[in-house]
Point group: C2
Chain length 402, copies 2
C-alpha cells in the first residue's frame, strides 16, 4: 500500500478558502493513486476562543475537562475538511482520535501516544476513502479524551505515518521549508533540500517553530521520512531523513529563540545534591529546562542559572521561591530580555573552528555573549534580546549560508 500522511496546521484550515486549498492538495495525492491519510489541527483561532470560554467560568479548570473542551477544535476542522472534499466529489471519512485508534497515557493536556490501532483507518483506506484524522488528541485507558500538548498534531501525523508504514509524512505549513535562517530576519536565507533528523531536532528546539521536537524525535525513532511543504505554493519543501554522517563540517542553519527566560538561583549552598534538588522540583512540574550554567563555588555558595520557555517561567520561579529555604539559597532572579542564538550542523563536534567563527561574527558587530552551550551538532549563545536579529544576520553571513 502506497500510503502518504499529510498534516495541515491551524492556519492551513482556518477558513473555507484555505480548506478548499488543503482539499486540493489532498485530492491531488489521491488522484496520483496514493492512499491518503490527513491529520488536521483546529482552525485558526478556535483553540483561543475555547480557552477564553473556559477562563470565563473557571480559570483553573481540570485538565481532563480542558481536554474534553479543546478536542472539539480538531473535530470541527476535520469534519469541515471532509465536507470540502465531499463537495469535490471524492469519497472521504473523518475520524476523531479515538476512532482512529490513537491510545495515549493519562497525562491530560500533555499525553504521549502509546499505541496506534490502525484497523479502522486501513479498513477505510481499503474502501478507497480519503481518511481525515483529528490531530492533537487520543483516548486513555479510562475511555477519556486526552490531548497531546503543543505541536500535538505533528506528533499524531508522525505516529500514524509510522504505524501505517507511510512512504512520507508531509507537513503542510505557512513556510515552504526549512531555511538556513529565518527569512524574515536574514534576507538571503536559503531553503534546505535535505536535513537530518538530528539537525532538525536542534533547529526545532531552537525556535525554528516549524516542527515540534517530539514529532521529529518520533520520526527519527521510527525512521519516518518527513517533508515540510507550503500549503499555498506547489513547490518542493525540505525533506527530513536519515543522512550519512559527514566528516566535513556543515553548518545548516542559524536560529534564534526569544521565547526564553533566564532564571538564576543566587547564593545556593555549595553542597552536593543541590542541582539535583532544583531540577527534580522543576521536572515534577513538567518543566523542561535548557542551557544550564553553574558558577564556580566560592565562599561556600554558588549560583545556578538556566533558561526555560517563557510559558513555564512563572511556574519555575514560583516553585523555586517556595523551596528557597530547603535549597539553602538567598533568592531567585530572572530576566526576560535574553535570546538564544544557535548554529546547527552535523560534524560540528569534530570541527572546533565553528565556535571560533561564530564568536568572531558576534564580536565583529559588538555583541556580548552571556552564556555558551554546545552539543554534538549545535552551538548556542545567550545574548541580549535587542541584539538577536543582528546576531543571526552576522553569523549567517560569516558562514556564507546564502
Amino acid at each position: 500500500m502506497d500510503i502518504v500522511v499529510q498534516k495541515f496546521g491551524g492556519s492551513s484550515v482556518a477558513d473555507a478558502e484555505k480548506l478548499k486549498n488543503a482539499a486540493k492538495r489532498i485530492v491531488d495525492a489521491y488522484d496520483s493513486g496514493k492512499f491518503v491519510v490527513v491529520v488536521v489541527s483546529a482552525q485558526g483561532d478556535t483553540t483561543d476562543e475555547l480557552l477564553e470560554k473556559a477562563k470565563q467560568v473557571n480559570p483553573a479548570a481540570s485538565k481532563r475537562e480542558m481536554d474534553m473542551l479543546l478536542s472539539t477544535g480538531e473535530q470541527i476542522s476535520m469534519s469541515l475538511l471532509a465536507m470540502t472534499i465531499e463537495a469535490m466529489g471524492y469519497p472521504v471519512v473523518s475520524l476523531t482520535g479515538w476512532q482512529a485508534g490513537i491510545s495515549t497515557n493519562s497525562k491530560y493536556s500533555c499525553s504521549r501516544i502509546k499505541k496506534v490501532d490502525t484497523e479502522r483507518i486501513l479498513r477505510e483506506l481499503d474502501s478507497k476513502r480519503i481518511v481525515i484524522v483529528a490531530g492533537f488528541q487520543g483516548i486513555n485507558k479510562f475511555d477519556d479524551i486526552t490531548t497531546l500538548g503543543r505541536g500535538g498534531s505533528d506528533t499524531t501525523a508522525v505516529a500514524l505515518a509510522a504505524a501505517l508504514h507511510a512512504q512520507v509524512c508531509e507537513i503542510y505549513t505557512d513556510v515552504d521549508g526549512i531555511y538556513t535562517a529565518d527569512p524574515r530576519i536574514v534576507e538571503n536565507a536559503k531553503k534546505l533540500k535535505n536535513i537530518s533528523y538530528d539537525e532538525m531536532l536542534e533547529l526545532s528546539s531552537l525556535g525554528a517553530n516549524v516542527l515540534q521536537n517530539r514529532s521529529v524525535e518520533m520520526a527519527l525513532k521510527y525512521n519516518v521520512k518527513l517533508e515540510v511543504k507550503s500549503s499555498f505554493e506547489k513547490i518542493p519543501g525540505t525533506v527530513i531523513k536519515e543522512v550519512e554522517k559527514v566528516e566535513k563540517m556543515i553548518v545548516r542553519g542559524v536560529t534564534k529563540d526569544d521565547n526564553i527566560v533566564l532564571v538564576s538561583i543566587v547564593n545556593i549552598e555549595n553542597t552536593p545534591g543541590k542541582a539535583f534538588k532544583i531540577f527534580s522540583l522543576l521536572a515534577r512540574e513538567n518543566i523542561n529546562i535548557d542551557v544550564i550554567l553553574q558558577s564556580v563555588g566560592r565562599g561556600g555558595t554558588k549560583d545556578i542559572t538556566f533558561t526555560v520557555d517563557f510559558d513555564n517561567a512563572a511556574t519555575a520561579v514560583r516553585v523555586l521561591k517556595e523551596n528557597l529555604s530547603a535549597l539553602g539559597a538567598d533568592s531567585v532572579e530572572y530576566t526576560e530580555n535574553v535570546s538564544k542564538v544557535s548554529v546547527v550542523g552535523a560534524g560540528m563536534a569534530s570541527n572546533p573552528g565553528v565556535a571560533a567563527l561564530m564568536f568572531e561574527a558576534l564580536s565583529d558587530v559588538g555583541i556580548n555573549i552571556n552564556m555558551i552551550s554546545t552539543s554534538e551538532i549545535k552551538i548556542s549563545v545567550l545574548i541580549d534580546q535587542k541584539d538577536s536579529k543582528n546576531a543571526v544576520r552576522a553569523i549567517h553571513d560569516k558562514f556564507n549560508l546564502a
Copy 2:
C-alpha cells in the same frame, strides 16, 4: 439510588452567567443528597454557527460528517458546565454520548436511541461525582457519532432517566411550565400543575414547543416522571405523569402552530392506492405529515391535502412534483399562510360539546375554518395565519381556562 436527571437547553447554558445559574440548580440537587445526572444541549447559537461553517464549504454535506460537526456543540457546553461546577468545588465529570453508553441506530441526523449502557454513569455516580452528559448524540454500530435530530437532548434526558430508573427527569427551560395557552398571546393563561403524557403529547406536537414529542412518547413508554421547570426562577413547574382517566371533559390548553405548510395534490386519479403511494413517497424521505383531507371523488379525480412542518415542505413538494405522472395528478400546490389551532384535553372524545364550543368561539370572532381534525384528546382546526392569535384568545376565553 435516588437519581435525578436534569436537562438544560441551549438558552440555559448560553454564556458564563447562565452556566453558573444552571450549576447552582445542579449542586442544590446534589447537596440535597441526590445522585445527579445532567443532560445539556449546545450553547445558544453554536449549532447555527457550525451549520454556517458547513454551508460555506458544502451546502449538501453528508449527514455523517454533519453529525460529526454538530456533536461538538454539546461537547463544548458539557465541558464548560463541568468546569463551572468544578469552580464551585464539587466533584464532576462530563461524558460524550458514546462515553455515556448511548447507542443509536445509524440514521445520521435523526437517529433513534437503541440502548443505554449505564455502566460508566453508575460508576461515576458511585464515586460521588455529578455526571454531565452531552445531549442530542450517540454512537452507532460502526463506532460513528450520530445525532438525534431536533429536540434530541430531551430524548437523551428521558432515555437516561428510564435506564437509570431516575425518580424524575427535570427539563429546565425558558418557560416555567406548561400553560393553558401561550402566555405571550393569552395574557391570563394559567400554568398547569399536572398534565398526562397523552395531553402533553398533543400539546407538544401542536406547537407548545416546550418538549419534543419523541421524549414524551419515551417518557410514557418507560413511565418516566417529567417536570418542566424554569432555569431562572426557583418555583414549581408542571409535572407530566400518568393520571387516571377522567370522565369529565377537561380542556387543558389551547395551542397554535404557525410553522406548517398546507400541500395539495390536485386532480389525482380516483383509483385505489393513490394515498398509499403519496404517503410512502414522503415516508421514504422521513417526512411526517399531519392533518390529511381527501376531497370527495368527482369526475374520476380527487384532491388530497395535508400539512407538513415548514422545514420539510420544500422536500415534500419536490418529491411529489417528481412523481406527478406516476401519481396521475395535475399539479402540486402549497400555501404557507396557515395555522393550526388546537384544544387538548383528556375525556374529549366522550364530550361532543367541545368541538361545538370551539367552533362557536371562532365563529364569534368571525374566523373561517379551512380544515378540521380530531383525536381522542384534541381538536385541531386549520385557519388563516393572520387570525391565529385571535383564535387562541377566543377559544381560551370560551373554555374559561384562565
